[in-house]
């Protein structure tokens, strides 16, 4: 181990005896300390590492063949970017921790009956069989035939557009119209296809805001937005609190207040981002509120992003109204409106990675279509979906059956909670209910909420999402997804809940 130590002064006799002995000792000490730190010991295991809906594998073992130190080169660990450091160190919320834990000890009726029941994942498993059946009946024709044709004509001979095959855009436009009730039509030329709604939201954010700018987001909101939007774009999210007293509906007055606050703090707000049907509450936005929102963004010269990924997953008597409907009938500047969509929720195909940016702004379309190169949809998947989405009869049947199953499960689940004295905010869409467990908190606050959440996770062995992960300002609300359950699971879930809740009644 060759060490170059600046001892020139000491060696030459300058600095005196004390320094002459002190400095080499100090240097030697620091060197030993440094070498110790860099010997091959695995990094401390980060317990909070996870990502939405994703399991964590065991820590990567360091390869022993590379543990010997080199005689050449720097001993300093090579730096990574501040963005990388942020993602490594981020103290993940209960949302991610809960997901991770349930994947380590998943419930199974036969193999692991005491495992954790996963109610923190907004995945719809209720109607996958219908899709599976269609695939079995149609795959050969739809995939290989189309694929060969497409690969020869489009994929290889010409430069394939990253923002998606035209045929898929056409099919998607039709599908979006169909699944949203048929009261509005979509133009394929305004569609950018991306590998999921996650990159769609990010790419759109890159187009609408500079680092340091902000979006106003009605809260509680989807925990994933914090990662999806903030991480690489540098855009901030400002929650606009909604209240149980108002059924967690958005109040324009609250929006105004947050906008003014941001302005005072010198933060440039660029857009309002809302999810409709909402996540985690599951409410549908009223036509009047949409209208007020359009007025608001027009007045403040902002963009409006409507995340409509759950548009087809409604089950109540209320009908879904897309922001697109208002643009059809009212005279607003369309250039400020953008819609996010995808097939992960409404068609239960999160693995296939299919998302949509729908914009009325041609500059946004131009920029986003170039960004699609970083997140393009795989060709075989596109081919499969062209067939599936064009089968409007199948889609009609699917929508009907899925709505029924969602509605049924919602009713059964919320009834079960009611028996436990837990009321839910009325939902009309999404895969979850928004449950009020505040009366069970030992202390009314985030701490009390997280204690209850931990008990439910560790003792009742059920994973649900606490409102604080969703930036809800009122403690005690929890999101419970019911679409990964079968009807027979519900009594078990309620029994598990009651185990913990009995001992948790606030005094």
């Amino acid at each position: 181990m060759r060490i170059i130590v600046p001892l020139q002064g000491i060696v030459q006799g300058r600095g005196g005896l004390i320094l002459g002995s002190l400095i080499p000792c100090a240097l030697l000490y620091f060197l030993q300390f440094y070498l110790k730190r860099n010997r091959s010991s695995p990094p401390p295991h980060s317990p909070s590492e996870s990502s939405a809906n994703l399991p964590e594998l065991a820590e990567i073992p360091r390869s022993t063949s590379r543990s010997t130190l080199s005689t050449r080169g720097s001993l300093r660990p090579v730096p990574v970017s501040s963005r990388a450091i942020a993602i490594s160190k981020s103290r993940d919320s209960a949302y991610y921790t809960g997901l991770k834990k349930s994947l380590e000890d998943p419930y199974h009726p036969t193999y692991n009956p005491d495992g954790i029941i996963q109610l923190g994942l907004a995945e719809n498993q209720l109607s996958l069989d219908i899709i599976g059946d269609w695939i079995t009946a149609n795959l050969q024709k739809s995939l290989l035939g189309e694929m060969r044709g497409d690969l020869n004509i489009r994929g290889l001979a010409t430069y394939e557009p990253f923002d998606g095959l035209w045929d898929l855009k056409v099919a998607m436009a039709g599908f979006m119209s169909q699944i949203m009730g048929g009261s509005v039509s979509f133009n394929p030329a305004q569609i950018i296809l991306t590998a999921g709604a996650t990159p769609a939201v990010e790419a759109l954010s890159f187009c609408l805001a500079d680092p340091g700018n902000a979006f106003l987001v009605p809260s509680p909101y989807y925990p994933g937005f914090d990662r999806d939007i903030k991480l690489r774009t540098g855009v901030e999210l400002i929650p606009v609190q909604c209240r149980s007293s108002n059924k967690f509906n958005l109040s324009i007055a609250a929006l105004e207040r947050e906008y003014k606050q941001a302005k005072k703090r010198g933060i440039k707000v660029r857009a309002v981002l809302f999810t409709n049907p909402s996540n985690p509450v599951g409410g549908l936005m009223h036509r009047e509120t949409l209208y007020d929102l359009l007025n608001f963004v027009t007045e403040k010269n902002l963009h409006l992003i409507s995340d409509e990924v759950y548009a087809g997953s409604i089950y109540g008597t209320e009908e879904f109204v897309s922001i697109a409907e208002l643009l059809d009938t009212e005279d607003f500047d369309k250039n400020r409106v953008h819609i996010i969509y995808g097939l992960s929720k409404d068609l239960s195909l999160p693995g296939f990675r299919v998302g949509v940016i729908y914009s009325y702004n041609e500059n946004v379309i131009a920029a986003a279509s170039k960004l699609a190169r970083f997140c393009a949809i795989s060709l075989p998947t596109q081919c499969l979906l062209v067939s599936m989405l064009s089968d409007t009869k199948f889609i009609e049947e699917y929508i009907k059956a899925n709505r029924e199953r969602l509605g049924k499960m919602y009713a059964l689940f919320t009834e079960g909670l009611k028996q436990l004295d837990i009321e839910c905010c009325k939902s009309s869409g999404g895969f979850y209910c928004w449950a009020d467990m505040s009366k069970f908190l030992q202390s009314y606050g985030v701490k009390g909420e997280l204690e209850l959440w931990e008990n439910i996770l560790n003792v009742a062995k059920v994973n649900i999402t606490p409102g604080s992960s969703c930036h809800c300002i009122e403690p005690g609300w929890f999101r419970c997804c019911f679409t990964t359950l079968t009807e027979s699971d519900i009594p078990l879930v309620m029994k598990r809940f009651s185990k913990v809740l009995k001992g948790h009644k606030a005094s």
Partner: protein
């Protein structure tokens, strides 16, 4: 209520900048092709696309395989297999697929390096992998060193959203455009002098557009350099399967294994199935890092560019087929070598010099003698003439930031043999026209 102020909600700086680089001739040529594409029967005088580095020579092998093995793409093992696959959005990716890719990469390198599937992060294409690595290794305002000439897409992939700058390292024809330690040192010093913090060196090996792989001695020098400067090395090896003679290619992976763990932590490899398998539309890229933190971070960030679980399943099946993968790699290599030889010979007979290459889907061709003056304007004029009159889209060296005018990248693997012959014939006629020579009309070109 109409917008009474007539104000337009502003877009971001990124959206309105042209850092996407798509206004360059590299992309303009594609547009011309799309508007007037060659077809042997329907449009025999159309533009032949020679600006697209795609690999079509072995597509029949893939087609046959999928026909013979429908299990690869169908969910035949029951409804639960479809269900699982449809719901699978884990950013770790399918383990069987990572294993298959690791194995494939090892076969390409004749097992001279080992790849740990746990170090593979899947992304939707190498484009996403390169951008992802840049986000992880550099902050806005930092810089990456990249030897020229380089793939035009880097300007966009490495700089656009990341706000990181490329510092080009000019390379010259005097030594076949090979990177030297001297030029590395100079470029690094220049960057420092301009107050730019260099965070990494990115090399493409084999090189695009040169079509040459880096010799071992150069790679060792590079590793010493990055060690000394404490910067990262990104080795983009997406053309590794197209090295004509397997023994020619030395991957950074081979040398990384010889180095200490501290040095190798600076090394990251980018791979993709777009070039070697000829499946650009499938969007399969991979990032391989010897640095645990980078792997972890990249995995999380890959949420923005995951590979379709359907595609993972299909390709995992295919690439896990040892016999098929080996046969594919060998056959593909051989066919590319044949094409390359044919193109080089024909160009030579036309009096056009190619850089001596040993890999890739293209030739780096010197048309300098056709220029009135050796500068960028004249090069672009020539490019336009070849596009509009000869009806060939080839890529001008200036779009690859080449320091010398007159060089062009000519792709030969993205078309049928017959189309290639037509293209080469046109090029020969053009060359002769410029030189004032005549040629017998019946000569066969490539047999």
């Amino acid at each position: 209520m109409a917008n009474i102020f007539g104000l337009e909600a502003p877009l971001s700086k990124m959206a309105i900048s042209n850092a996407h680089g798509e206004d360059s001739p590299y992309f303009a040529g594609w547009k011309a092709y799309n508007e007037d594409p060659y077809d042997a029967k329907k449009n025999p005088s159309g533009v032949i696309q020679m600006g697209l580095a795609e690999n079509q020579v072995s597509f029949d092998l893939l087609e046959n395989y999928l026909e013979e093995h429908p299990e690869a793409y169908s969910w035949s093992s029951g409804p639960s297999s479809f269900r699982e696959n449809a719901l699978f959005q884990d950013y770790h990716g399918l383990q069987s697929f990572r294993k298959a890719i690791a194995g494939f990469m090892e076969k390409i390198r004749s097992h001279r390096a080992k790849f740990d599937p746990e170090r593979i992060v899947l992304t939707a294409g190498a484009t996403a992998a390169n951008e992802l690595l840049t986000f992880i290794l550099a902050d806005p305002g930092d810089a990456l060193l990249v030897p020229t000439p380089y793939y035009p897409g880097f300007d966009r992939d490495l700089q656009w959203r990341t706000r990181v700058s490329i510092v080009p390292i000019p390379c010259h024809s005097t030594n076949s455009f090979q990177l030297t330690l001297q030029s590395l040192e100079t470029a690094y010093a220049d960057a420092e002098a301009s107050n730019l913090r260099v965070k990494a060196l990115l090399i493409t090996n084999p090189s695009n557009p040169l079509g040459i792989s880096s010799p071992r001695t150069l790679l060792e020098d590079i590793l010493d350099f990055i060690s000394k400067k404490n910067i990262h090395l990104i080795s983009d090896e997406i053309y590794s399967g197209s090295v004509f003679d397997a023994t020619d290619f030395v991957s950074i992976a081979e040398i990384a294994e010889e180095r200490s763990h501290i040095s190798s932590e600076k090394i990251h490899i980018v791979y993709s199935l777009s070039k070697d398998l000829g499946l650009p539309g499938f969007r399969v890229g991979a990032l391989y890092s010897y640095n645990d933190r980078v792997v972890k971070t990249a995995r999380r960030m890959s949420s923005f560019s995951l590979v379709s679980s359907q595609t993972q399943k299909t390709l995992s099946f295919m690439l896990s087929d040892e016999e098929f993968s080996l046969k594919f790699i060998e056959t593909n290599r051989m066919r590319l070598k044949e094409r390359h030889s044919c193109v080089v010979k024909e160009l030579r007979d036309s009096g056009i010099e190619c850089l001596k290459g040993n890999a890739g889907l293209f030739c780096w061709v010197n048309l300098g003698e056709f220029l009135e003056k050796k500068n960028r304007e004249e090069e672009l004029k020539l490019w336009k003439v070849i596009l509009d009159e000869v009806k060939l889209n080839i890529s001008p060296g200036s779009s690859c930031h080449c320091s010398e005018a007159g060089w062009f990248r000519v792709c030969f693997a993205n078309m049928s043999k017959e189309t290639l012959e037509v293209a080469l014939r046109r090029l020969r006629e053009f060359s002769e026209k410029i030189r004032g020579r005549r040629r017998s009309p019946n000569g066969e070109i490539c047999t």
